[in-house]
Amino acid sequence: MVDIPESLLRRSAEAKAKALGVPVEQVLAEMKGEGPAVEVPQAPEPSPAPSSPPVERGESPPEAGEGSETPEPVAVEEEAPAAVATAVEDPMAADQGDGVVEGNGAGDAQVAALVSPRPSVPPTGLPEGVRTQRLLTVVKARAIQDVKAEPHDKINTWPHLMLIEFGALLAMTALLVIMAVVIHSPLLDPANFNATPNPSKAPWYFLGLQELLSYFDPQIAGVTVPTIVGLIGFMMIPFIDRNPSTRPSDRKFAILLYSIFIAGSATLTIIGVLFRGKGFNFSYPWKDGIFFEDLADWLDFE
């Protein structure tokens, strides 16, 4: 049997004792399974509006339920379904916004109180339309709660995430302003179709490709590498790599391949930028100078 907190048990017992007109201690002992079943005195009060009888569901052992004469079982049947509808609500659930009702892992949700929305007969002395609630019984929460997802450790976008984003934005703006002040954009002679500069280099992000073109047949370097490997191959990565794990120790091969790709393209690009001179021939930047006009303003210090 579930451990029911003492306070809830006591409330339940009090309600039951009041309804039956017996001492609380007696009911409590019975609920805990320590005492004999409660003898219900027949027609305890001549009151014209007797409060509704107790409901015992799932909580007391069947023998005890049979032993005690539960008055008016019909009324009990009517009330029971309504009572089950009440569940302990997760205070976080409203904040998730994901449409998932999250279960509450905390210990205090182990127990849900079943509350009757309204007594079958309103107690005397209450104005018309006023409803009261009574604790009927206490059941284990798990049984009526549909736990769909474990709660995440979440924090507010504002201020936590947005302040970081703002910081990154400021840092990037500062970097841009500093770069723009320090390094000037190149502007060479006006375009001239009759004067091919030597060397002619592509923008740096295509220089790795241009470098490949100088080794391989253009059909390979110009087609196979960029379109097949570069575009289609990259798009297919998630469908080729069927390994579900994201832990680095499980993905050694994938990480190795990608690292080779990065190292390879970085090497090719650096060779293209720094080590290619006249006629796109190999040259040493410290001997022959740097043929990279994008940074010409910055590299020519003399």
Binding site: T157, W158, L161, L175, L187, F206
Partner: protein, 258 residues
């Protein structure tokens, strides 16, 4: 409230006018109910949610994010920085457009004027140029960090595919802008680049023809690249970015910690 003379003081009138303004129907129509701009901001969980929820921001961010997602060391902010650089390039690009004519006669002269005559022209041109290079770099690094986290695995496969398209578009944007100064560097770098496109079998020549508006790079290429650079590619990339950001959220936010 009346002051000592029994008349309404200036301070009270200002306050009254102010209240009237903020409670007017126009302001009410602009700001969502409960907007912190209207009600004033005091730090509470409710207001923290309202800052995001009552705002166009809600299209980009949920009210709450996973705790590890805001750790700088996880995303390094690279996707966000790529997006920021794109916005930065749009703003500086609009400035440049005021002073630039995409014709073979005027393009070079205009860029020269920007670098020397026009107030802030040189600064803005430099920011636009370095911003473009940085964007290529940050998109590439963003892709690498996604790969090393295995963040392309289900359910995020499709967002990776969108990402590859974004990388291609970023390169195309940068490349098409490269020609616009119409100097020797621009002309011949683009000539080399488009020649590489011509090596693609079957469709290579057609792709190159469409790109450079002819068999070889010419004055017509300048207008073509200009329109692609300031209109066509930005339009397409914005659409793909929208889908990209939407999928980041629909796929359950940033992927989990390793």
């Amino acid at each position: 409230m009346a002051n000592g003379n029994g008349r309404t003081g200036l301070k009270d009138r200002i306050k009254e006018t102010n209240d009237k303004l903020w409670n007017s129907q126009v302001v009410g129509a602009i700001l969502r109910p409960g907007s912190p701009f209207k009600q004033g901001y005091s730090d509470s969980p409710r207001n923290r949610s309202y800052v995001v929820m009552n705002n166009v921001l809600y299209h980009l961010h949920p009210v709450k994010v996973k705790r590890h997602a805001v750790k700088l060391s996880y995303t390094l902010c690279l996707g966000g920085l790529s997006f920021f650089l794109f916005i930065h390039l749009t703003i500086t690009g609009i400035f440049l457009m005021f002073y630039y004519t995409p014709t073979a006669e005027l393009a070079y002269v205009d860029i020269q004027a920007l670098s020397t005559d026009i107030a802030f022209g040189s600064l803005v041109r430099n920011m636009h140029r370095w911003g473009a290079h940085l964007m290529v770099l940050s998109v590439f690094l963003h892709m690498s960090r996604v790969f090393y986290h295995g963040a392309y695995k289900p359910p995020r496969e499709f967002n990776w595919v969108i990402g590859v398209v974004l990388l291609l578009l970023t390169l195309l944007l940068s490349f098409s802008g490269y020609l616009l100064p119409w100097d020797q560097l621009a002309l011949w770098a683009v000539t080399v680049g488009t020649n590489m496109a011509g090596f693609v079998p079957v469709i290579g020549d057609q792709v190159k023809f469409a790109l450079v508006a002819g068999v070889q790079v010419s004055a017509a290429t300048l207008l073509r690249f200009y329109v692609l650079h300031v209109l066509a590619f930005p339009f397409i990339i914005v659409i793909f970015m929208a889908v990209h950001f939407w999928r980041v959220r629909k796929d359950g936010g940033i992927s989990g910690p390793l």
